[in-house]
């Protein structure tokens, strides 16, 4: 349900792992350092200190590049135990002011302040206090925003990060978002970002101004969700359950019990897209997809797919969902309904695209690049490794 008052607080610790490292070792505050896993073949930067960020180093950059840019940069191994403790401390401080807290780990918390104002005053007053208490206790200077929903509060902290406090008054959501850079909108990942950039869109307000037809033409069938987000519309709730207990569940009821494999596959793909969209709106990834089948004779069966790496994109979720469905389809009986459940959620490592824009597939793009290279440098310039071996 949409609210009118600014009662949702988002707490955002920018470069959380680096901030935790400074809490553990305050001398690091003056140093340029990065958090990265040493020992892997091509390590990338997981988190950066403010001084390293000032030198142009960013998350996702290969460590080798970071060292080339700043040879004196210190590399620190990620400390998951210290990060978990810091997450718990943030939750504990927030819990003094609010009973309903969604902890997304990695220094992200949402607080639903509805009904607390008699006790603690307006939500923004609590936000100010929580920010100061976190600084006093953990030494972290963080970004906090207050808004009428999670999405706008999240854009609020992104607009002011690494630190500060902002309140977007109820009714001003779309106006606040309008002039923010489009990349701040949850759901604008690399692919959608490129698409919007090519179309000349730089501000969230430009996406918000699209009507249904324009949005569909530009971004495809899932565009309305992104357009509505750009208008500051978000009905998601603050979910206080632990991350490992949270699930995204969708159900399909067939009008007539189905047994045609193609029809079932079409239903799985459609509902997997819906579930994936809901997951990415929360900026989450999942490790497990669970399918429960309800057969026409009243029996049930289950299928499970566990991925090796977190699933974020439609393609990954659809593949996992169909794999789980195949495991569940063990009988020659018609199917009445099924549920799909995305489980073992965790924050997406990088901003996921809300949906995969329609256009050339990865393979098609690769083929186009190969063809362009051959056209420019000749057919022998680029060939399959197998062909080289044969030669």
């Amino acid at each position: 349900m949409e609210r009118e008052r600014a009662e949702i607080i988002h707490i955002n610790v920018t470069d959380f792992a680096a901030a935790v490292a400074v809490c553990t070792e305050p001398m690091l505050a003056r140093k340029a350092f990065i958090i990265a896993k040493e020992g892997s073949s091509r390590p990338v930067v997981i988190s950066v200190s403010p001084n390293a960020r000032d030198e142009g180093i960013h998350v996702g950059m290969p460590v080798a590049t970071a060292i080339r840019m700043l040879p004196s940069v210190t590399i620190i191994h990620p400390d998951s135990s210290a990060c978990a403790k810091a997450d718990a401390a943030l939750h504990e401080i927030a819990s003094h002011y609010c009973p309903t807290i969604q902890s997304d780990s990695g220094g992200h918390l949402f607080l639903d302040m509805q009904g607390t104002s008699r006790l603690f005053g307006p939500p923004v007053d609590c936000a100010v206090r929580i920010r100061n208490r976190i600084h006093e206790r953990l030494g972290m200077d963080i970004a906090v925003a207050v808004a009428s929903n999670k999405l706008v509060a999240k854009v609020g902290t992104r607009a002011i990060r690494p630190s500060g406090i902002a309140q977007v008054n109820g009714g001003e959501e779309a106006a606040f978002l309008a002039r923010q850079e489009v990349g701040l909108l949850p759901g604008v990942g690399p692919a959608i970002g490129r698409l919007l950039s090519v179309a000349g869109f730089s501000e969230i307000g430009q996406v918000a101004n699209l009507d249904d037809q324009q949005a569909l033409a530009l971004l495809g069938k899932r565009a309305i969700a992104l357009r509505n987000a750009a208008r500051g519309i978000d009905a998601s709730i603050v979910d206080p359950r632990r991350m490992d207990c949270r699930r995204i569940v969708k159900r399909v009821d067939f009008a007539e019990p189905a047994h045609d494999r193609d029809a079932i596959r079409a239903a799985v793909i459609s509902v997997a897209e819906d579930a994936g969209l809901a997951m990415r709106q929360e900026l989450m990834a999942c490790m497990v997809i669970h399918i429960v089948l309800f057969w026409a004779d009243g029996a049930t069966s289950e299928g499970l797919y566990r991925a090796r790496t977190p699933m974020v994109l439609d393609e990954e979720v659809m593949r996992g969902a169909w794999s789980a469905m195949e495991r569940a389809m063990s009988r020659r009986v018609r199917i009445r309904a099924f549920t799909i459940s995305l489980q073992e959620l965790s924050p997406a490592r990088r901003e996921p695209d809300l949906f995969t824009p329609e256009g050339p597939t990865r393979e098609e793009r690769l083929q186009q690049a190969v063809d362009a290279t051959r056209r420019r440098f000749g057919s022998v310039a680029l060939t399959h490794a197998a062909a080289v071996f044969h030669a």
């Binding site: 007053d125 607009a159 002011i160 630190s163 309008a178 002039r179 923010q180």
Partner: protein
């Protein structure tokens, strides 16, 4: 921890004789008397009348220990004439430099009205104005919410210019409450929370507001938050009607434990 200086927007109010200044205080004694109460003042006459060099010297003589902030002249923020604003900027710069050379200038406030929209022409103008006054410590206040976006914040960070933190009534169209650190200087303006009289009334009614103790406690927390990343925090109460600004400023000083002992000339 940053140094926190608290004062009021303006000091020359005849209605303050009695509630703030002792009975019988003459206008020419206002600044000297003010200096015994607060360590900083935001000069707002400089918005209505272009300040002169001699005038600033005289003020400095009356209150040498006071830290002055100056509101930029309206010809630079509200009634900008493309053909003449540069000469006005030079005139203003000359006057402000008197305070700066004496080490008494806190900041020059560039306060832009609601009609100053976030569009390319105005962004270019703001950049030019900041360039013209680059020798001075500047602070920027926007009344139009369009400016409260990540690109403005990043641009101010690059230039080390504070985005003024505001306390205003929560009414449609007012800018969002935003405290961000963009410079070693933080600048706070507290305008009161008169929802009913904010639009369509005279300035006296708009700023006729007394902050409650509870509201002041929250404002104190906001200022503590700004003090984390800043070296100097300047705080001005603009709810000047009937001396309420001075009363609130004193109460906030006590809450924050700052500026209790001020001495005039």
């Amino acid at each position: 921890m940053a140094r926190i200086l608290i004062g009021t927007s303006g000091y020359s109010y005849t209605e303050w004789v009695g509630p703030v200044y002792p009975e019988g205080t003459k206008p020419e004694m206002f600044l000297g008397t003010y200096a015994t109460l607060f360590p900083t003042v935001e000069l707002n006459f400089s918005y209505y009348r272009m300040p002169g060099v001699q005038q600033m010297h005289a003020m400095l003589c009356q209150a040498p220990a006071v830290n002055f902030s100056m509101k930029a002249h309206e010809s630079l923020t509200h009634t900008v004439d493309p053909s003449s604003w540069r000469s006005h900027a030079q005139e203003f710069l000359a006057a402000a430099s008197v305070l700066q050379k004496a080490g008494s200038l806190g900041a020059v406030l560039l306060q832009f009205p609601y009609s100053f929209h976030y569009d390319p022409d105005r962004r270019r103008y703001l950049d030019s104005l900041i360039g013209s006054l680059a020798e001075l410590p500047l602070a920027v206040e926007f009344r139009n919410g369009q400016w409260y976006n990540n690109r403005t914040i990043e641009a101010l960070r690059e230039r080390k210019i504070p985005l003024v933190s505001l306390d205003l009534p929560e009414i449609p169209g007012s800018p969002p409450m935003m405290d961000v650190s963009t410079s070693p200087l933080a600048y706070v303006r507290l305008h009161g929370r008169n929802k009913e009289t904010w639009w369509g009334s005279d300035a006296a009614s708009r700023y006729d507001y007394l902050y409650s103790d509870r509201e002041l406690e929250t404002l104190a927390e906001r200022i503590r938050g700004l003090a984390v990343a800043a070296q100097l925090v300047l705080v001005y109460f603009n709810n000047h009607r009937r001396g309420q600004a001075a009363r609130n400023a004193k109460a906030l000083q006590r809450l924050l434990g700052v500026g209790e002992h001020c001495h005039g000339t």
